[in-house]
Symmetry: C2
Subunit: 691 residues, 2 copies
């Protein structure tokens, strides 16, 4: 025994972060050859999108893959963007040092968070092919581009450099590149097609980043292009300060000991979001800390008390101290129409439902869940539904089974909403796809590869609620469909049989065939609305028609209303019945009185929307008798639509001035958002929720 402990201790040593990730490269997403390639593309493209968004540039991104040695699975990856570029002095740190970056301490929504991604690519390339990564960077304020080959000294976590220099970056059209970044690197990798592929990653990325133009040249030289479909950049996200709810004691201790603020009231106001002048005083009073106490001088026990006040465990006058919620301008949701688009881009399906939850907070971090469901023909009915996961506008391609978002889907009993599901748990089966997006200032993944979300009660709760809402929408749709089918069947039956009987009877009796329209409407006794929304290949417009049938025995007067994508820049053309704007995105037609058996059809075209953007039209009515196939409009519902449209109408794409750009987040307003436990709900389909 003697000496064993000492001998064992001698073998211990410190490992550098780069050595660690070199050995555990699978943590970063470099496991199989296929996935390694996707990971590399993803890291480069995510960086380009982040940089462009921060610099308020509409991104043009090119990804090129070349097989340099097919037999040995060696692939060259080249990516080029029109982002701001990286100053020469920073290049080696960004590409050659792990955990170097700008977003680690920032609290705002971004794709990159950790300062690992692109350095991981440089490391993986070096490890598998021994080659350095070539970087070319042009920034606006310099005439020439900086070029350099970057490698990694993993023992020291420092960059190694070669062939450093400057060059003129000429574009194919002979002009000079204003600003941008190009990365060229060689690695072991395997290109393949299918659901988990570079192609699919870029396709999904283009769907949720419609402001980006993405070009992909695959290893066979084939060029794929996803054009920019909007010139609106995503809303500029502001960095916010930590919220007291999300602070751990250890962090507070560090913040205090490093603070130079003269008094605690100032410290609290300056370093936290959600803390007003009043709140800072109340927090200190509840913690029995003097307002003029120096942050540096506080004792461990005082800080422990303050944390308890932060977390509402210790009260002031019997009540927890009220704090504002963190501002939500740090979030940039995908928004409803894009979700619809994402789901229906390639599938012409009749039914899409989406749902955007109000922002909520977990551990002081604002987050927001958006979901969508598509159901209908064109998808296999006997397979698990396709799950499309996104986090901060990045498609998640791997580890579906280990992801919180999947678990939320699996936790719902979809059988009651019309999908097959063995045992009422697990991913349901049926002709459907489910999209789910988490926008958050701090997306908690299960690993550095950022492919699956870790467990979190609040996010789970929000996602599950959103799923239930989707489910209810689906059930309502299926019930409506069934009702419509039944009515149609009855109508056809009545329309076939009654005239036949009448004819036969008339013939037998030798009398003329009577007018039956009255009888038919009497038997049907229903008003029916039918709408069709079809993409017209020739005109590149969306044709909409809405028909109202009066199968009752009385004359009926209605106002019909329909939603349309006004906010997304669509225009309504050749509107057969005129009408007027009821609210943003809602058009209304006051129809002439319909006599029994009479029919009216409204038609119009939508210009300025793409195929897949608008596949279904919600129809509403005002009038006494219920209309099958439409929803009764009242003030409450209209108000809800107005609110919803207004929410989507927040300014989000303007070029900001320099002054604006550099401004700090101190004074951003903090619109009150709902607490995690009782968040608001909005649905597109299923207005006025049937639950």
């Amino acid at each position: 025994m003697a000496g064993t402990a000492e001998r064992m201790a001698q073998n211990q040593k410190q490992v550098s972060i780069s050595e660690f990730f070199e050995k555990n490269k699978h943590f970063l997403g470099f496991d199989s050859l296929t996935r390694s390639l996707i990971t590399a593309v993803k890291e480069a493209v995510d960086n380009s999108l982040d940089a462009c968004e921060e610099a308020r540039i509409l991104p043009d991104i090119t990804v090129q893959l070349t097989k340099t040695d097919d037999k040995k699975n060696i692939i060259e990856l080249r990516t080029e963007d029109n982002g701001p570029g990286i100053p020469k002095a920073s290049i080696e740190k960004v590409f050659g040092q792990l955990l170097f970056g700008s977003r680690f301490h920032a609290i705002r929504q971004s794709r990159g968070q950790q300062g690992i991604g692109i350095t991981g690519v440089v490391m993986y390339s070096q490890l598998t092919t021994g080659r350095k990564t070539h970087v070319r960077s042009k920034i606006a304020t310099e005439a020439s581009a900086a070029v350099v080959d970057i490698g990694l000294d993993t023992r020291k976590n420092k960059a190694t450099k070669q062939n450093e220099g400057r060059e003129i970056w000429e574009l194919p059209d002979g002009t000079l590149k204003e600003h941008g970044l190009e990365i060229t690197t060689r690695m072991k990798g395997k290109y393949q097609r299918g659901r988990q592929s570079v192609y699919q990653y870029l396709r999904m990325t283009s769907i949720v980043n419609p402001h980006a133009s993405i070009t992909f040249i695959d290893p066979d030289g084939e060029q794929h292009h996803w054009p920019r479909v909007t010139d609106r950049l995503p809303r500029k996200v502001e960095g916010i300060k930590p919220h007291p709810h999300g602070i751990h004691l250890g962090q507070l201790q560090r913040m205090c000991s490093e603070s130079t603020d003269s008094r605690m009231t100032v410290f609290l106001r300056n370093n936290f979001s959600g803390v007003s002048s009043r709140a800072s005083k109340e927090l200190l009073a509840a913690a029995e800390i003097q307002e003029k106490a120096k942050p540096k001088s506080l004792k461990a026990e005082q800080l422990r008390t303050l944390i308890e006040v932060f977390q509402g465990e210790r009260h002031l006058n019997g009540k927890p101290v009220k704090l504002l919620n963190p501002p939500t301008n740090c979030l940039s949701p995908i928004q409803e129409l894009l979700i619809k688009k994402g789901l229906s881009k390639t599938i012409d399906s009749r039914f899409v439902t989406t749902m955007t939850r109000a922002p909520a907070v977990t551990q002081g971090n604002p987050f927001q869940v958006e979901v969508g469901l598509i159901f209908g023909e064109g998808m296999p009915a006997d397979k698990p539904v396709e799950v499309l996961r996104f986090a901060n506008r990045v498609p998640l391609m791997y580890q579906q089974g280990g992801c919180l978002l999947t678990k939320a889907i699996e936790s719902v009993d979809w059988r009651q909403y019309g999908l097959e599901q063995s045992g009422g748990r697990g991913v349901p089966k049926g002709p459907a796809a489910i999209l789910v997006h988490l926008a958050s200032t701090n997306v908690q993944f299960t690993s550095e590869a950022k492919e699956a979300l870790a467990d979190n009660e609040e996010v789970m709760d929000e996602t599950r609620k959103a799923m239930l809402e989707l489910g209810r929408g689906l059930r309502k749709h299926l019930e409506k469909k069934k009702k419509m089918a039944k009515t149609r069947e009855k109508f056809e039956l009545v329309n076939d049989i009654i005239p036949a009987i009448a004819e036969k009877s008339a013939a037998i009796l030798g009398k003329p065939v009577p007018d039956l329209s009255g009888s038919i409407t009497k038997i049907m006794s229903a008003v029916i609305a039918e709408s069709s929304t079809t993409w017209n290949k020739t005109t590149k417009q969306t044709d909409v028609s809405i028909t109202l049938f009066n199968y009752t025995s009385r004359a009926r007067a209605y106002t019909l209303l329909a939603r349309w994508p006004e906010e997304d820049g669509a225009t309504m053309e050749n509107n057969s019945h005129g009408g007027r704007k009821e609210a943003t995105g809602v058009w209304a037609w006051k129809l002439d009185t319909l006599d029994p058996g009479q029919t009216t059809t409204i038609t119009y075209q939508l210009a300025g929307v793409e195929r897949g953007d608008w596949t279904d039209t919600d129809v509403f009515y005002r009038g006494s008798q219920d209309v099958i196939g439409a929803t009764k409009m009242d003030e409450k519902l209209l108000e809800e639509i107005r609110r919803r449209e207004a929410r989507e109408d927040e300014p989000d794409g303007e070029e900001v001035s320099e002054a604006d750009d550099g401004r700090q987040a101190e004074n951003t307003s903090a619109p009150p958002i709902k607490a995690p436990k009782t968040p608001g709900q909005q649905t597109l389909m299923g207005y006025g929720g049937d639950e």
Copy 2:
């Protein structure tokens, strides 16, 4: 645009590894309060087991949880072991520095790999309660124990210390602690019972570490004890050198540039496993590198060529250079009996099948897959089968859905093996549990939390094959059961109806009832063996009985044979028919000739085995007529059993001498193991495989 790149670059900075993991503590398994507590216990216990195993000490481990503040979810965790202890000077690094450890560069099977685990616990405690972790360490060569409170300066990734000192460590019985380690720490956490709990983790750990004695005092003060059930330590694992198949170009470059070897032949022999003197020359010849070349002097292109030779992409005289496989004494599988025990410990089920694959290699790392399946009453038939996952003897409690081992199970169509499975994919349903263990020198997890295995083609392949084998064993069992049931039904029918007919006929004819045994056996025309293996609560022994029925019309002579757990220290008592040892673990009885209709029953008790250790007895026979319910024994089968028993009989638990203890791995023999693509298979049930 001007200045944007520069402004953005200004915000970038270097983050320390501790800051990184503090922010991303969920990567380490600190997400929910429940899981955080399990993670902390796991890291401490895994360390204790590893240290004891390395120091060749039979571990005594105590885990104590105390709720110090129930309302605020603050729990104190205390763990104590009898390991070698940690020298005073090393304590602060082990507990207060991330990525400090002894196992990162070692290539051998161990629980810990990364030098993160226990420091993560210290960090999490500090973050959530602001408290340092108290460490008490006693090593054999010092009279007193070192004590210190350790925290973490996350900005610098350095320990902070308080209350450093020495003290006499007295045990409750008044004696002095010889050596060992005690850790006391306070953290936010939540204790709960159930499938994912500290209790369950310790229980599973005790099953696959039967050499450990584990005591758990839960927050209610209740004491749970899992005693040591064997004094044999797991086989001592030797560190090995990297195998050329697993080396990347980047690593080779670094190894060469740091090498002081004078010539390449020496370099290759000294730094790699599997490279003989002959092989080193052939490798260099194939790469066209001079044998006397200095490793330091090699050019990038030469190394690239050498890697191609390593990987068999470049040949010598038209053939790849042959390398020995890496030695497998770096692995320590759980072994069959423990797997059976693990599965049937608490469930009295009739059928358990296990399967240990031969060691294989992936990317130069030896690994071995072991699996087991239990089927029968006592488990719910309409729920997914329970999956018990282990890696290097550590139970995996989380992220089942994202784990390669689960995916291997899901990839099998279990319907053909008698389990329910929707669509032939996914975790099957039925009254069964599946255990799967991966032993490897480099377990590739999906994250630092070490709860799920990352994708790897070879490991997937091996695990899937093992599952198929389990499936075949299950199907065979179910078929056998069905056949037995049919025979029994026939027998009962014949035995009921024939005498009744005889009686009636005799009565009608007024004749005496004839002797029917001849007719009955004629109709049955079968020899049947039935065995029962039952745990006897009173005697604490396992009662075995084997009955042979001769339902044929001729006299029959048989030798019956049965397996028994001889190797695990069992003894056979009150053996009714004497018999003799046929081979290790196989007993044989030459029975007297059985006349038609006659029956013989062999009975004996097994002492020295625990409840659940031995739940089913395989019966074999030698004789002309087939026996339903037993397997025909021949030389080939006997040889297989002998081989198997011998494999389990490798020396693996002896206390090693100091000299032995310090020896390096250079000269360990390298028994040839099979290549990953065509590994050998051994099954306990289903000898001679029916496929």
